[in-house]
């Protein structure tokens, strides 16, 4: 896949637009300057997690001796459930039960930005692409875009309004379901093909 496709998919799974409202809830009452520090710090933590998985992915692959098929099925299933929680919000969802107070590592960096679905996707891409540098580039592009959106979270919320934000959240959730199902079915395709041998 090309860099642009990779970055768009990674960006969508990070889902910064969908995370705006939960992020703003989290930092309610924290002054604007402190918020900026928090965003930059959390985004760097997320970036580190992503880069680590980009390089460590292959190692985890070997040590657990999982196949590419397994990774597709797993990441598809996780992403599907995460996205379904976005579409059908409930009180025990990832976004509803956030610990209050200043976010540090959890919940903003992990799992809202660099969640299990994203890390599994990065592992998959790092495995599929010929060079890990290509994936690294895609991670950077997607990360910068996501960071910019979270950085301007408050103005974006003001322009879109609560309904607009909710609309974006819903549409993103739907796109994530599509990505998840595509990934999962690719896994099944691979599984069937490997059984026919």
């Amino acid at each position: 896949m090309e860099l642009i496709n990779l970055s768009i998919i990674l960006f969508l799974i990070m889902d910064p637009i969908g995370n705006i409202s939960s992020f703003l809830n989290m930092v309610q009452g924290i002054p604007a300057e402190r918020r900026r520090v928090i965003i930059i710090r959390e985004m760097f933590i997320a970036l580190i997690a992503m880069v680590v998985f980009n390089y460590l992915g292959e190692f985890i692959f070997n040590i657990l001796s999982v196949s590419e098929t397994t990774l597709r099925l797993t990441s598809g299933a996780i992403l599907f459930l995460v996205a379904i929680k976005i579409l059908f919000p409930s009180t025990d969802s990832l976004r509803a039960n956030l610990p209050s107070g200043e976010p540090f590592v959890t919940p903003l960096a992990i799992p809202l930005i660099a969640g299990p679905a994203l890390l599994a996707t990065i592992m998959l891409f790092a495995h599929l692409e010929t060079s890990q540098e290509a994936v690294l580039g895609a991670i950077f592009v997607a990360w910068i875009a996501a960071a910019a959106i979270l950085f301007f979270a408050a103005p974006i919320q003001r322009t879109l309004g609560n309904n607009g934000l909710m609309a974006c959240e819903r549409l993103m959730g739907l796109i994530l379901v599509m990505l998840a199902i595509q990934r999962f079915l690719e896994g099944i395709q691979q599984l069937v093909k490997s059984c026919q041998l």
Partner: protein, 196 residues
């Protein structure tokens, strides 16, 4: 196909007449004026989604490498979960304030009205016809019909009454289940073809 025939096809695929009772059951807990507003809003959003898929559908799906079967499965699975919610709906549930959110975009605008069937159909016909203006006109014509149905649908409940609506929710949940599984079946057919 002529524009009128296309418009009729789109109208039938969007199936507002068949969907209205199901949609009505979803919004039955809101005051009457609110229901009308919700239905018209969702109809309009569905229209935007239809137009989006006419012009950017292929680009969008190609960009994310989404196949047609994944589109069908997405619609099917989201609708199936909606159907389950309707069938196993517990009225006495009093969770936090997040619960009982107004239906917004999902599931009424998409995948109920602008579902995978309509999206694929719009993309396929616009590829076959190669005439953007004609397709857009057809979509607009179809949506005049859809909006008319939606504007009148809320009055249906005056006929049925509150208890009737509560009973209808169960039945419509079942119907919605059928629609969603049909989407999944269609998706599976497409998917199995890729395996061969």
């Amino acid at each position: 196909m002529s524009t009128l025939a296309l418009a009729l096809t789109f109208f039938l695929v969007a199936n507002p007449v068949g969907m209205s009772p199901a949609i009505l059951s979803m919004v039955k807990d809101y005051p009457f004026d609110r229901q009308k507003k919700i239905m018209l809003r969702e109809g309009f959003i569905a229209f935007i989604i239809a137009l989006f898929f006419q012009f950017c559908g292929e680009l969008f799906l190609g960009m994310l490498k989404i196949s047609d079967f994944a589109l069908a499965y997405t619609g099917g699975s989201v609708l199936f979960l909606t159907a389950l919610q309707m069938i196993f709906h517990k009225p006495e549930e009093t969770h936090g304030p997040v619960l009982k959110q107004e239906p917004f975009i999902v599931p009424i605008a998409t995948p109920l009205i602008s579902g995978p069937g309509l999206m694929t159909m719009i993309m396929v016909t616009s590829r076959a016809e190669g005439n953007d203006f004609k397709i857009t006109t057809a979509i607009v014509l179809a949506w005049i019909g859809v909006m008319t149905v939606f504007a009148t649908a809320p009055y249906l409940q005056k006929l049925i009454g509150k208890r009737g609506l509560a009973a209808m929710e169960q039945v419509m949940g079942m119907i919605l289940g059928l629609i969603s599984v049909q989407m999944l079946v269609n998706g599976t057919k497409l998917f199995v073809k890729t395996l061969a």
